[in-house]
């Protein structure tokens, strides 16, 4: 019988939540790395018991942990992230140029083909890669060549938070950076170009600039990797051409501000977002926690509320804190800054809290296991 394993990163440690395919009863393991910020954990698609975790601390810096047994035991691997060559500079808050400084790893994306190859998204924004299971990391500096001198940190830091690997074209990689935008490489990460045409951001001097957009998340369905969905600072967007151009699909959402966006495992036109009131008030509109689902790839949205708090709810759902499993029916999961992890075993129709009182949730990933 199949099973699912949730990998939950929080402000104070990692938790591993497991259930059988019914997804009704859950076992909770953790905290792992108690007291450390766990920005992200993710398993290898080709070796699901091989997990990687980004463990960081304002005091003691960055660690990367690796598990060979699905998160039961862990060992630290390499933690040296050094920018290639002379790091150069990017825009700073005061308009001056500021040198790139490594702060932490926001996101780990294991290769689709090799468990020892993992991509890592860093703050200050850069893409690193290991090909030896995390022992050593090398920057892919071509990304910072894509107008990196014009990138500028938002209030959350200049972080590379999204990495999408195209299953149909092994040399194609997408990344997204706050507050720089989305970027694509078609040569396995050697060279990159901004893919922000069609984005409009009133918060920057030139709303249609080539870079400078605060992209919060991008998502794809593996069967149609040329179609991308984006939750921007404001606006939900869609691209039909691998990011060459974007169109807004916010439609009837109560707010088009938000952080995560994800795609149903079996329905490439079914997408999910969690509207947040505004960039000034990071909580759900009207104190009602609602996931919105579109079955038409955007524009037409329905609120999903069954089992979610519909009064006095003022949590946020961060960009890496939503995931879908590949069971039938598709399971959807998300974590909140209030420490709740909610799950739906019926594609979002009904929800249940899996756990209510974790530290603030930074990330949620799910593995569907045989």
């Amino acid at each position: 019988m199949s099973a699912v394993r949730l990998l939950v990163g929080t402000r104070k440690g990692a938790f591993v939540l497991t259930s059988d395919g019914k997804r009704e009863e859950w076992k909770i393991s953790g905290p792992h790395f108690a007291g450390w910020e766990i920005y992200h954990l993710k398993g290898s698609p080709v070796d699901p018991n091989r997990l990687y975790a980004s463990q960081s601390s304002g005091w003691f810096g960055q660690m990367i942990q690796r598990s060979e047994d699905g998160g039961k035991t862990w060992e630290p691997v390499g933690n040296e992230f050094v920018y290639e060559g002379v790091p150069g500079t990017h825009q700073w808050y005061d308009g001056t140029q500021h040198p790139w400084e490594f702060k932490r790893i926001w996101h780990l994306e294991p290769s689709l083909a090799d468990p020892d190859t993992v991509y890592a998204g860093a703050e200050d924004a850069a893409l690193f890669r290991t090909v030896d299971g995390g022992k050593t990391w090398q920057e892919m500096p071509g990304l910072r060549g894509a107008k990196g001198n014009l990138w500028q940190p938002g209030a959350g830091g200049m972080c590379l938070h999204t990495i999408l690997l195209d299953p149909s074209q092994p040399n194609r990689i997408f990344v997204a950076i706050s507050a720089a935008g989305a970027f694509r490489s078609d040569d396995a990460g050697q060279t990159w170009r901004p893919i922000n045409h069609g984005l409009k951001s009133e918060q920057i001097p030139d709303p249609t600039a080539e870079v400078g957009h605060c992209v919060h998340r991008i998502a794809m369905h593996s069967s149609r990797p040329g179609v991308l969905f984006m939750q921007k600072h404001w606006d939900v967007m869609r691209s039909e051409n691998a990011g060459d151009s974007w169109n807004e699909v916010s439609g009837n959402l109560p707010s088009d501000f938000g952080f995560p966006i994800d795609v149903h495992a079996h329905e490439p036109e079914t997408i999910y977002v969690v509207p947040i009131k505004s960039d000034s008030e990071h909580f759900p509109p009207d104190g009602k926690l609602r996931v919105y689902r579109s079955r038409t790839g955007g524009n037409e949205w329905e609120g999903l509320t069954s089992g979610l708090p519909q009064s006095d709810c003022y949590v946020n759902v961060l960009r890496d804190a939503m995931a879908v499993d590949s069971l039938d029916k598709c399971g959807i999961y998300f974590g909140t800054t209030g420490g709740q992890v909610y799950g739906s075993a019926d594609a979002g129709d009904t929800w249940n809290p899996i756990v209510r009182d974790l530290p603030a949730v930074l990330s949620v990933e799910v593995q569907t296991l045989p």
């Binding site: 007291g35 304002g58 005091w59 003691f60 810096g61 660690m63 630290p76 933690n79 040296e80 992230f81």
Partner: protein, 98 residues
Amino acid sequence: MIRVVLPFHLRKLAHVDGEVQLDVKDPVTQRSVLDALEASYPVLRGTIRDHVTQKRRAFVRFFACEQDLSHELPDTPLPDAVATGAESFVVLGAMAGG
């Protein structure tokens, strides 16, 4: 032997309890003690000093003999009491309120 006290999280990373004892050749300085510490416990590389600059991380402090030695130059000799093992060299995370 030089005695080093590590903070909770670094003791857990290094899998040690209590003080760490290190054989450090003269001169006994912050740099030589930390070099010896990292040689014995490679997992601590990058957690006390930056990998590239080798500067103390901003919220790590060094105390010994009831003094804050955090701002001493890395090659300044540590107090004799540390060099003789009478006193420990304390690495700790800065207090954070809130």
